[in-house]
Point group: C2
Chain length 513, copies 2
């Protein structure tokens, strides 16, 4: 035991509790950076990970970050006693896995539990994820991983079933199908406690778009009440935090944009299981700019979802969808909310592609949930839309979440500053440059400025004449509009097909036969 004087450090690490030791004290105790020690104070003991420093902390002192500080209310200048603490067994398990041994169910659970309870450092957790590349996760391991993740947070339970859900692998601008599917299937009597994400690097997530119509930061109890009252909700997943360990794991693999398959599968299905879902569809868009580039890859992933879902006691169905163009017309929270309302209220200029995709997905869920016979789902979904029942259900949800159910398209906070980009040539729309769309919509202020974004005037296959409007940029602030226009002048977001592919005017260019 070594007695050290407390020096509080006014920072949170956000992860495992860390203490700073001076080099000479660490040397005396035989403690190395990243070793663990037990900190004793007032008959309490707390384990922390050591960072050794020759600066900031003088010999005889110990730097204590907020995390530990909260657990043991210690004042600057007080004293603690420290002693070396053993490394958690999970560290050895991670090493085993990295070096090639598949883990048992309870071993996977032990590792995840230690990540959840902040007993592992980031470096240790990273090696766990890296082990997915050295040693394939067996189905049993992936099941254990998912179950352990479910146990990391709270779980929803609803008496009225079937409980259905959907998830999109994402990466497609627009694509606000969730806000159309949820009211349709809830109107049919299914329960759909939907939690969605906010945009990280895209112009809008479903949570950002729903937030134009109603609050989405629902506390756990508010979410439950909304679902109990209306049969559904469209909430921000971050506010209920069903699977808190997932955020941590996502953050650690974010820098390399890694999606080790067992973690990708577990991340998605753990949230569904924690929400109490029984029937789930997974939308896997395939396209050059989508997360999944090839159909064969999508198919393998689909099988993986179905297999894992079954082992977890959920019926999963996967759909492979077009992922090479935006779905809907608006890109940005308010513009996307407008598309959603236009479809639900059957306005005549509602975007057909978004309507169709939503009805198709809703149809599958209705069939899965036993509300429609095989092949009858689309028709039922369309009927619920046309009858106005879907819009009525959406108004109930908006109201239950604390929004204005009488919202009209003209009330939506579209950016007051706008500018339309016209075609410089004649041709057919062949493709969209999705990264360019994202860049311009974000420059215009989306998703933080709800009214910023892009309104597309053309869809794929449309014949465009020179001078015809291609898209309009909306912004809440004039300077952001200027930034977005500058971006738009550099990028070509609507890609036109040339009728003449190549002009040959020289015989030497002909390929030799």
């Amino acid at each position: 035991m070594l007695k050290l004087k407390i020096k509080n450090v006014d920072i949170e690490t956000g992860g495992a509790p860390i203490v700073l030791l001076n080099t000479s004290d660490a040397y005396e105790m035989g403690i190395h950076s990243m070793d663990r020690i037990n900190v004793h104070f007032h008959k309490k003991v707390k384990t922390a990970i050591v960072d050794v420093t020759s600066k900031i902390i003088p010999p005889g002192s110990i730097g204590i970050f907020k995390e530990l500080d909260r657990e043991i209310p210690i004042e600057d200048g007080g004293f603690v006693n420290i002693e070396p603490a053993p490394t958690p067994a999970s560290v050895g398990l991670i090493k085993d896995r990295l070096l090639g041994r598949q883990l048992k169910k309870n071993e996977i659970a032990a590792v995840v539990k230690d990540i959840v309870t902040n007993r592992l450092s980031d470096v240790e957790s990273v090696f766990f994820m890296a082990s997915a590349y050295t040693t394939e996760f067996s189905t049993e391991e992936t099941v254990a991983l998912t179950n352990a993740m479910v146990l990391s947070g709270e779980q929803l339970k609803f008496d009225k079933g079937p409980i259905v859900d959907k998830h999109s692998i994402g990466g497609i601008p627009g694509n606000r199908v969730t806000m159309i599917i949820v009211p349709i299937v809830a109107a049919a009597g299914l329960t759909m406690p939907k939690t969605s994400s906010r945009a990280i690097s895209s112009p809008a997530g479903t949570a950002d778009t729903m937030e134009v119509l109603a609050p989405v930061n629902l506390a756990f109890e508010d979410l439950k009440k909304t679902v109990m009252k209306t049969g559904a909700c469209i909430a921000w997943g971050g506010s209920v935090n069903l699977v808190p360990v997932d955020d941590k794991l996502l953050q650690l693999r974010y820098p390399l944009r890694l999606d080790p398959k067992p973690f990708l599968l577990a991340s998605i299905l753990a949230k569904k299981k924690a929400a109490g879902s029984q029937k789930v569809i997974i939308d896997i868009p395939v396209g050059r700019f989508a997360k999944i580039k090839h159909k064969s890859e999508a198919q393998t992933l689909a099988y993986d979802f179905i297999r894992l879902g079954n082992k977890l006691g959920m019926q999963v169905q996967a759909i492979i969808t077009q992922g090479d163009k935006p779905v809907g017309r608006g890109i940005g929270p308010a513009l996307e909310a407008r598309d959603v309302i236009n479809i639900l209220t059957q306005a005549k200029d509602a975007p057909q592609d978004l309507r169709d995709k939503s009805l198709e997905e809703a149809g599958i869920i209705l069939e899965l949930g036993g509300k429609a016979g095989r092949g009858q789902g689309y028709a039922l979904a369309e009927k619920l839309l046309k009858s106005g029942k879907a819009w009525k259900k959406m108004q109930e949800i908006i109201k239950a979440q604390g929004g204005n159910p009488k919202v009209k398209v003209k009330d939506l906070p579209l950016g007051k500053h706008k500018h339309t980009i016209k075609s410089s040539r004649t041709g057919s729309v062949y493709a969209f440059d999705i990264p360019a769309i994202v860049k311009i919509a974000r420059a215009a202020g989306a998703p933080k400025d709800k009214g910023g974004g892009i309104d597309l005037h053309v869809d794929r296959g449309v014949r465009v004449k020179k001078g015809m409007p291609l898209f309009t940029i909306y912004a809440e602030h004039e300077n952001k509009l200027r930034d977005a226009i500058r971006q738009a002048e550099k990028e070509r977001i609507v890609i036109m097909e040339k009728s003449i592919m190549r002009v040959i005017d020289n015989v030497t260019e002909l390929p030799s036969v």
Copy 2:
């Protein structure tokens, strides 16, 4: 660009510069934790990695850690402008490698350079090391890794060659051969700029032991002067820091006690190359408690060292040694220094095993360095020892490093508190429990208390009678002596052979024929 108010954070991360952003500012900029931003101030730009927080830093402010602070001298309350910055290309290379692509020479160099210059986060660097387990390092990659590591720090150059060196894979208590080999080979006219490590979890490193006789924290120029004057030095590697990036990489793999082979090889040979070494021997102890457990593993490792050394322009010879017992009698800095002086001054109670191992290794180095013919090295080494030239050279080195060359064994600061443990039975010494020895010596105060440790009175094969002394514990402080005795009562560090292996008194126990 977003203008934010500076809030200085009085902590060093020790790695890549980090800034703290409030969640809402990060959301507006589309920035995620672990993304990079450029921080603009007074026409300077500095890249930092973002940590997003909803606490501590209010919207409109930015938390700046000391690292960035030093580079851009900014005061609390000033303002900076920030913008998203691209991820370094090396992050993509690390991902490629993790997913199975071997890297080109310049790509390895780019990754290492970004680690050296703190452009990569710990998480990113960890994935680089983990990639050694998904995708084997080719010889070319390992060579590139080593060369890039050499370039991370300063390099020594001496005109007078050959420059020789040695390294032990380590893990064996005692084993202070370096302090005997260095003066012998320097006395023969070879140049040996030896840098050694301090103990992390063992009772003494060579640097800790040499420090009993002379300062070992030599600045770069002092080390050079010592070698130029005497032909050698025995310095602490940490003070000259020849390959700074190695410390960082070691620290990141320390929690899992990982030694990915290319990193292990590069770590050792980069330091030799940076020291200007031309001929190197690598000691690979094999034993149950040593780092390397099996001879076959040691042999593969030996080949790897030789092959890599050749590619780096060094002649490497590897020796596989007994690693299942302490070498020498003392364990702890002052006790080990005593053994060294006893051997060099030819005291009659000098430990024979340490003397022999040192002469054997010195002999090989003398042969490698062209000072002795093949098979003549041991004899020359013994001659240099017996003639007193080795001790004279050691005294020169001690003096050049700032110690007292007239040091005598009786002046050594052995702990004043001691206690001898006696044998409770009669038998032959069969083995030593090395982890128990380490634990007791450390409990007695080693390595921080130079005089703490264990003095073994028996060697393997010695016949011991009940009541004969096995070892004496030395401590500088009475309470540490008590702790060590308590440990010693729980552990059996000297393991005795039973003459009768098994008593058979029942025919049913006989194996069936």
